[in-house]
């Protein structure tokens, strides 16, 4: 076979698509033809050249393709993480979780009560507060309640005129109605 007739077979041979008979013919010709051996090498080279053209995927290619598909409605919608049935189940589940949390914290409270800081320490650390007139009156009343003797003395001094004869205020243990005079 001449060079002109075997060129196409060399191309097929280079691509690994030659039949057994065709391959044998090509090998036989190449063994004796320097010119066609060079041609074979060049044919392999241009094949390698195609693979050098790789290109690159544009940055936002995926986003743009999916956006176009979405706008056309050509893409099924993504499945929701919580389907409708699970959304209804979420209400009793949340309630149960809340109840469990309540019970747990209640038990913890019984087991380990939080120690209260002594009142005195709070008073000691607090800054002095200016008392209003009303506050002073309230404190005075508290003093009276803590010391009945003071209460009685006041009663004797100021409240006598207000009380009618035989009023329970005369009794040794008068009711707290005496506070109304303040």
């Amino acid at each position: 076979m001449g060079c002109r007739d075997i060129r196409e077979s060399i191309s097929v041979f280079v691509d690994g698509e030659a039949s057994a008979g065709e391959e044998a013919s090509v090998r036989e010709h190449l063994a004796s033809c320097e010119r066609c051996r060079a041609l074979e090498r060049q044919m392999r080279a241009v094949g390698a050249g195609v693979r050098q053209l790789r290109g690159s995927v544009p940055d936002r290619f995926r986003e743009e393709v999916f956006a176009r598909l979405e706008s056309e409605g050509a893409l099924p919608k993504r499945k929701k993480v919580f389907p409708a049935a699970w959304r209804w189940a979420a209400v009793p589940l949340a309630a149960a979780a809340g109840l469990g949390l309540f019970l747990l914290t209640s038990r913890e409270a019984v087991r380990a009560p939080v120690p209260r800081a002594p009142v005195t320490s709070r008073v000691e650390t607090s800054a002095p507060v200016a008392l209003s007139t009303e506050d002073r009156e309230m404190l005075a009343l508290l003093d009276i309640l803590e010391d009945p003797a003071v209460f009685d003395a006041d009663d004797d001094a100021e409240g006598m005129d207000l009380l009618a004869p035989g009023d329970p205020a005369d009794s040794p243990n008068p009711p707290r109605g005496g506070r109304s005079g303040a």
Binding site: R35, Q42, G49, V65, L69, L75
Partner: protein, 185 residues
């Protein structure tokens, strides 16, 4: 693809992840232009998604995908041609036996397999590939670039295996003619 046809979005996402690089690369080799390749590649995936309802697994998925890809790039090239750019596209089934002004380079002392495809040479190769008739370019790119067999290329292009042999051979001869100075010592 069958899962996607049945309504699985995840199946399409998987399909996209597996094949988008090959699709972009094919579009780039066929159009020779990054922005054109991106546009064509987007169109390819749109066509794949649109075709899902009628998809039948009569061939390998990749063979079908390249069929869609080739049609999309062909349409793109035709549109470009109509816009006035020079893109050689021969009608289907013609040109395989046509005569091209090919002058094969003579023997050389360099081993072409050792040729370093530097950026400049790659650019010249890209330009030469772009001058091939579309049918020849598609056959050559699918076989040498994407690794499809002659039989698969024939299915994608809708021609006989013999036509594929001829197209690839012609493509090689034309490329060698244009790149003879780069490949010869």
């Amino acid at each position: 693809m069958l899962l996607f046809r049945e309504g699985s979005r995840e199946a399409f996402e998987e399909l996209f992840s597996r094949h988008h690089r090959a699709v972009v690369r094919f579009a780039w080799r066929m159009t020779g232009d990054p922005s054109a390749a991106e546009e064509a590649a987007q169109e390819i995936f749109l066509r794949i998604a649109r075709a899902a309802p009628t998809y039948l697994p009569t061939a390998k998925f990749t063979t079908w995908m390249y069929t869609v890809a080739r049609r999309a790039t062909l349409n793109y090239l035709r549109d470009t041609k109509e816009d006035g750019e020079k893109v050689p596209i021969l009608p289907e089934g013609k040109g395989e036996d046509g005569v091209y002004p090919v002058q094969l380079p003579g023997p050389d002392d360099r081993n072409p397999e050792q040729v370093v495809w530097e950026a400049q040479l790659t650019e010249r190769f890209r330009a030469a590939l772009g001058e091939l008739p579309e049918g020849h370019r598609a056959a050559f790119v699918l076989n040498r670039g994407d690794g499809l067999s002659y039989e698969e290329v024939a299915q994608v292009l809708g021609v006989t295996v013999q036509a594929v042999k001829t197209r690839i051979f012609r493509a090689r001869e034309m490329l060698l003619s244009r790149l003879s100075n780069d490949l010869s010592a």
